[in-house]
């Protein structure tokens, strides 16, 4: 039977394409681990992760300051970006008049598409001098990075949260209004709690985006590999550590940058799996 054979063949072809696509993630994992694992073995996992000194020329590879850097900048971005993002989503889903919404949505889309270097550059020109002149310190700081990242994660949070709110059954809102709640009470005590898992997933994805961003933060963080003591201190993240030094690193140094990549990769995978788990649980 010729037709049956053709159908089998095309299914095989599609399966082959699918399998090659997913082998990408295996390939990425394998090559990064092969490159980075030896130096972790040499330095020791504990000394690598909790080591306080990053001095490649002296063979010292401790990335703890970078982990602190990534965490603090990301935390700052979440604190600044998430409330604004959720407000934006509620605005689009519930309050915006159609005309405003039709302007707002493409604007958010454009915001998502702009190269991250442009954001970094804008931060360098506006945020950094503003902080230096008004709050003190060098200006290149955790705060500057957090502000830039907060803006950059807005599209992720707004878009996904809005979809989650709009996906709720109409009865939720109508039921709440029928009980005599005001529009805001319906949003606050019925709709947002109902959309919670989706919004949390959006936030987790936003965190992943903030944690993984490189070029924008290179420009505004100052990149000093030390433990910061205030949000006005410069700091270096896992991503910027790779971005800055990859261009000239060799030998152990290059391996240590791949090892930094492994740590970043693991953190991001944990975040991804969390987000997938949250969305699936619904």
């Amino acid at each position: 039977m010729k037709n049956g054979f053709k159908d089998k063949l095309s299914e095989r072809v599609f399966l082959a394409l699918a399998l090659s696509s997913i082998s990408a993630i295996a390939l990425i994992t394998v090559f990064i681990v092969i490159q980075g694992a030896p130096i972790i073995g040499k330095v020791g996992l504990r000394d690598f992760i909790f080591g306080m000194t990053w001095a490649p020329s002296q063979g010292k590879f401790g990335i703890f300051p970078m982990i602190i850097g990534s965490l603090s900048v990301t935390l700052g971005a979440v604190v600044l970006g998430v409330p604004v993002g959720i407000c934006g989503a509620v605005f689009l889903a519930e309050f915006a008049p159609a005309a405003v919404r039709n302007l707002f949505r493409p604007a958010i889309q454009l915001l998502a598409g702009i190269p991250s270097v442009v954001y970094g550059f804008w931060g360098l020109i506006f945020i950094v001098p503003f902080i230096r002149d008004n709050l003190g310190g060098p200006g290149l700081s955790i705060l500057a990075g957090s502000i830039v990242l907060a803006i950059m994660i807005l599209p992720t949070i707004i878009t996904i949260s809005e979809v989650q709110i709009l996906a709720l059954p109409r009865q939720y809102k109508e039921g709440a209004l029928a009980l005599g709640m005001t529009h805001w009470q319906a949003i606050y005590s019925v709709q947002l709690p109902a959309a919670k898992s989706g919004i949390v997933a959006a936030v987790v994805l936003g965190i992943g985006r903030a944690m993984g961003e490189t070029m924008a933060v290179i420009m505004v963080l100052g990149n000093a590999p030390g433990i910061p003591t205030s949000i006005l201190d410069p700091v270096r993240t896992l991503t910027t550590n790779i971005g800055i030094e990859m261009g000239y690193a060799a030998g152990d140094h290059r391996q240590a940058l791949f090892a930094t990549g492994i740590v970043l990769f693991v953190i991001i995978m944990i975040l991804n799996i969390t987000a997938q788990f949250i969305t699936r649980k619904k």
Binding site: D7, S10, E11, V13, F14, L15, L17, A18, L19, S21, I22, A24, I25, L27, I28, F31, I32, Q35, V84, G88, V90, F91, F95, F104, P106, A107, Q109, L110, G113, I114, P115, S116, V117, V118, F121, W122, I151, L154, T182, H183, W184, Q185, I187, L205, G208, G212, E213, T214, M215, I218, M219, G243, M246, F258, G261, F265, I268, N272, I273, A275
Partner: protein
């Protein structure tokens, strides 16, 4: 103090409107600032001349060509794999183990930071496959990066094709393969194209991954094996090394215009697609 429902409604509404206006204002400010500074720089010479003295003088033509080449390689490689994967997910699987593995991998790929793609592309394409810093290395790395976007958008497009089309096709004695190529693919084409256009936007905007894999050569690339510099990388180098603020603004404005046009095309496609 207890706040009445009407007062809290008012406060909440004000806050939300303020947040929304603030977001829009920041966006407009960033874009307008770059455009105001950058648009005057853009002219015919800027678009057609090769950068001279590190980009201090001359135009950006070689970086436009570099961006086009790298993006083309990425899309040409990623599209067949991504679309094929999407068809497998949407048309053949019944939610078994393989489906879950494929979907999990695709979603995980989507979350990997571009710098990690850059590391991978550097060690795999540049070093291991010995392609060097080249258009090919950069394009292949970006192909990996946009793969999940193409898979996701294509799968959505395929799933939005009404089930009845497939049943009609089967009832008219078509095979599954014929149904996919004669009915499902044409109906999903706009959605798939939209995903590809968005991926093109991501390639053009990407900096970290291409810098580590395509290099930053300013010369006009003549083959896939030449190193090249994309516009985003060029902008980054001009701005960070303070080579020429003027040309940096010009390049940034050009990037924003291109991304804007890409979004317009994508939205037009989606709107037609929905109708």
């Amino acid at each position: 103090m207890k706040i009445s429902a009407r007062t809290s409604e008012k406060i909440a509404k004000t806050l939300i409107w303020t947040a929304a206006v603030f977001v829009l204002a920041v966006l407009m400010f960033i874009i307008l600032y770059i455009l105001v500074k950058g648009l005057p720089v853009i002219n015919w010479g800027f678009l057609t001349q090769v950068p001279r003295s590190m980009g201090r003088e001359g135009g950006v033509s070689s970086t436009i060509v570099g961006t086009l080449m790298v993006t083309s390689v990425a899309v040409l490689i990623a599209a067949p794999f991504g679309i094929g994967t999407a068809f497998y997910l949407a048309e053949y699987t019944k939610g078994g183990f393989i489906t879950r593995v494929i979907r999990f991998s695709a979603e995980s790929l989507a979350g990997i930071p571009s710098i990690v793609y850059g590391l991978f592309g550097f060690i795999f394409f540049v070093i291991y496959l010995d392609l060097g810093w080249s258009v090919l290395s950069g394009g292949l790395t970006l192909a990996f990066m946009i793969l999940p976007t193409i898979i996701r958008t294509s799968e959505e497009a395929i799933r939005s094709v009404p089930k009845i089309y497939r049943e009609v096709s089967f009832s008219l004695s078509a095979t599954k393969t014929q149904t996919i190529f004669k009915v499902v693919l044409p109906s999903a084409l706009r959605g798939i194209a939209n995903g590809i256009i968005l991926s093109i936007g991501r390639c053009i905007a990407e900096t970290a991954a291409v810098m580590l894999t395509a290099g930053s050569a300013l010369r006009m690339s003549r083959s896939l094996f030449d190193p090249t510099r994309t516009m985003a990388v060029h902008f980054y180098i001009l701005a960070v090394e303070g080579i020429s603020m003027e040309n940096a603004y010009g390049t940034a404005a050009l990037l924003i215009i291109i991304i804007f046009l890409i979004n317009v095309v994508a939205n037009t496609l989606v709107n037609r697609f929905v109708r």
